[in-house]
């Protein structure tokens, strides 16, 4: 496991999953104040979250509620201002010095995390989110592939406010979380049907296994697996990122003939999105 992972791995299993240890309610949403704009200009936060603006421009700004309910002081370069949002609703704000600069914070009781990777058709995909609702609340995940929403899975809000459930999508769709009168903004799940081709050829004393994924998925993770008796199944031996041509090459040196395959996975290196046909590698002593 050479690759250092900076993001939490997305995990999969059919049906509802135990509540994730995702960030509980009370997270901080970092925002910046630029020369003539708030960035991003509109954000979705969970009730109980705090928005923190940092002035990264070279001139003074304020962050002031459109209804005058709250305001920052004048913020010079590098200064920050934080405002906590506890009640759902849409909150407009502006800069008193440059009133054309406008922004909006939309506060919800349910939020879904935007998936960082595409899903594969017919395979479970985990959607995680946060809720400003009591632990134990049942949340329904609704899928809308263009023909209106339909329930796809349910999840239970955990003690930390997190929830997650796995869904199976056959095509790209938008999902939202619903509990009673509360609904999250929709997130898009991109579903790609990918195939992995693999070839193996002798390369001196080693074997070179080349994998190619289509449609092109540069940067995606592929793992070389060997079928090893002492490992009781398919065993990951090398991992690589697909290059710009959507290909990756592995080299193995083995003194026995074994089955090999290349799988396309999520960032966890384990959740399989597509599997290549089996090739054979290694030479007998």
């Amino acid at each position: 496991m050479r690759r250092v992972l900076l993001a939490v791995a997305v995990v999969l299993a059919p049906g509802a999953l135990p509540a994730a240890a995702a960030a509980p309610a009370g997270a901080v949403m970092p925002l910046t104040i630029q020369f003539a704009a708030f960035a991003p200009p509109r954000v979705d936060v969970l009730a109980g979250d705090t928005a923190t603006w940092r002035n990264v421009s070279g001139r003074m700004h304020t962050v002031t509620a459109a209804d005058g309910a709250w305001t920052s002081a004048r913020l010079s370069t590098g200064a920050t201002f934080s405002q906590r949002f506890d009640v759902p609703g849409d909150y407009q704000y502006y800069c008193q010095i440059h009133p054309f600069m406008r922004g909006e914070v939309d506060v919800h009781r349910l939020l879904l995390t935007t998936p960082s990777e595409p899903a594969a058709p017919g395979r479970p995909f985990v959607l995680a989110g946060r809720a400003a609702l009591p632990a134990g609340t049942v949340v329904t995940l609704e899928e809308d592939a263009g023909a209106g929403g339909r329930p796809a899975a349910t999840a239970t809000v955990g003690a930390g406010g997190g929830f997650r459930a796995s869904v199976v999508a056959s095509a790209s769709a938008s999902f939202r979380a619903v509990a009673g009168a509360d609904a999250s903004p929709p997130v898009q799940v991109l579903v790609l049907d990918r195939t992995v081709a693999a070839t193996a050829r002798r390369d001196g004393r080693r074997f070179k296994v080349t994998a190619r994924v289509s449609p092109a998925s540069p940067g995606a993770l592929v793992v070389l697996q060997l079928h090893l008796r002492e490992r009781f199944g398919w065993w990951p031996v090398h991992r690589a990122r697909l290059n710009r041509a959507s290909a990756a090459a592995f080299r193995v040196r083995l003194h026995r003939r074994v089955k090999a395959r290349v799988v396309l996975t999520l960032a966890d290196g384990a959740t399989v999105l597509a599997t290549s046909p089996v090739v054979r590698v290694g030479t007998r002593r």
């Binding site: 250092v4 992972l5 900076l6 791995a9 995990v11 009781f232 199944g233 966890d268 384990a270 959740t271």
Partner: protein
């Protein structure tokens, strides 16, 4: 080993000490330097996604965790090195680097916290060796120093002495404010200290019995094939370094072999509690594929089991 005579022929391991001296080894005290960093990784507890004995499969959702591990590096943390020397294990990252020394040595462990994922403080706390409080690595508000609370990006050098009663194998682990999460996530490893004239074994196997996720693991892996597949051949001296981390006791058992424990009695199963450790060993003479496991049944069923393969003597 299939009889008393065979047992008697086995190389005796006494207490935490390792194998009996066979050949004099260099006894001059040395300064041994190790470069270690705390690094975030994704760790799959069950890479083949199955319990082959029970015939059940596990989805990655249950087996893959983001965690932080100790990783060995070259001087100045330039390039990563394998945590286990060749022959000591066939996996990397968990347990942490096998820190070898000999009685009389000064050990310098240069530690760097590269946990930029969780951004937790980390430390290294060593059992079995002598050190000043500043190298204790254990967080105690108002008393402990920098070495007990190494922040992301910071470094600290622990200065340890392998003294006369340090021979044997000992745990080290995170003892910083993030100790609980770190130990649950695999931030532990072995110090392995030889006596002054003791010969190093041909094979040294590291076995850490610890819970991880919903599994009971050996070196952070669960079920046969996932746990280390240890190998040796007939005629080699083998040493098993065994310890437990967490909050449970374990009974370590190797099939087809026996050893002599600290009290002089023969054992094929030996109890080990949290942060306890022992080394056992013998000269191998039984080819075949053997099981090793924790004999607490619930632990074994939850993954604390592996295989050990002994090849015939090479011709």
């Amino acid at each position: 080993m299939r009889g008393r005579a065979a047992t008697a022929a086995a190389i005796v391991a006494l207490g935490t000490a390792a194998l009996a001296a066979a050949v004099p080894a260099p006894a001059a005290a040395a300064v041994r330097e190790y470069w270690v960093a705390a690094v975030p990784v994704t760790w799959n507890i069950v890479p083949n996604q199955r319990d082959a004995i029970a015939g059940t499969t596990y989805a990655p959702a249950l087996t893959v965790i983001p965690t932080v591990v100790y990783r060995r590096y070259t001087r100045g943390w330039r390039r990563p090195l394998p945590n286990a020397p060749r022959g000591s294990s066939n996996q990397n990252l968990i347990p942490g680097p096998l820190l070898r020394a000999r009685v009389g040595d000064r050990i310098l462990v240069h530690f760097k916290n590269r946990d930029f994922a969780f951004r937790r403080p980390h430390s290294m706390h060593f059992h079995g060796v002598r050190y000043r409080p500043s190298s204790d690595g254990a967080y105690l508000p108002g008393f402990s120093g920098r070495g007990a609370d190494v922040r992301p990006g910071q470094t600290f050098t622990y200065r340890l002495d392998a003294v006369s009663d340090s021979a044997g194998v000992w745990p080290y682990h995170d003892h910083s404010p993030s100790m609980d999460e770190s130990i649950a996530g695999g931030m532990w490893g072995f110090l392995s200290i030889l006596r002054r004239h003791q010969r190093a074994p041909d094979r040294e196997f590291e076995v850490v019995l610890a819970p991880m996720g919903q599994f009971q693991t050996i070196d952070g892996r669960a079920f046969v094939g996932n746990t280390p597949v240890f190998t040796s051949h007939v005629g080699q001296t083998v040493q098993w370094d065994v310890m437990a981390m967490g909050s449970e006791h374990h009974t370590f058992h190797v099939h087809g072999h026996r050893w002599v424990a600290a009290d002089g009695t023969d054992h094929d199963t030996q109890t080990v509690g949290p942060a306890e450790s022992f080394a056992i060993g013998w000269r191998e003479q039984d080819p075949g594929t053997w099981l090793y496991h924790c004999h607490v049944e619930a632990h074994m069923m939850a993954g604390m089991i592996g295989i050990y393969r002994v090849r015939p003597r090479p011709r």
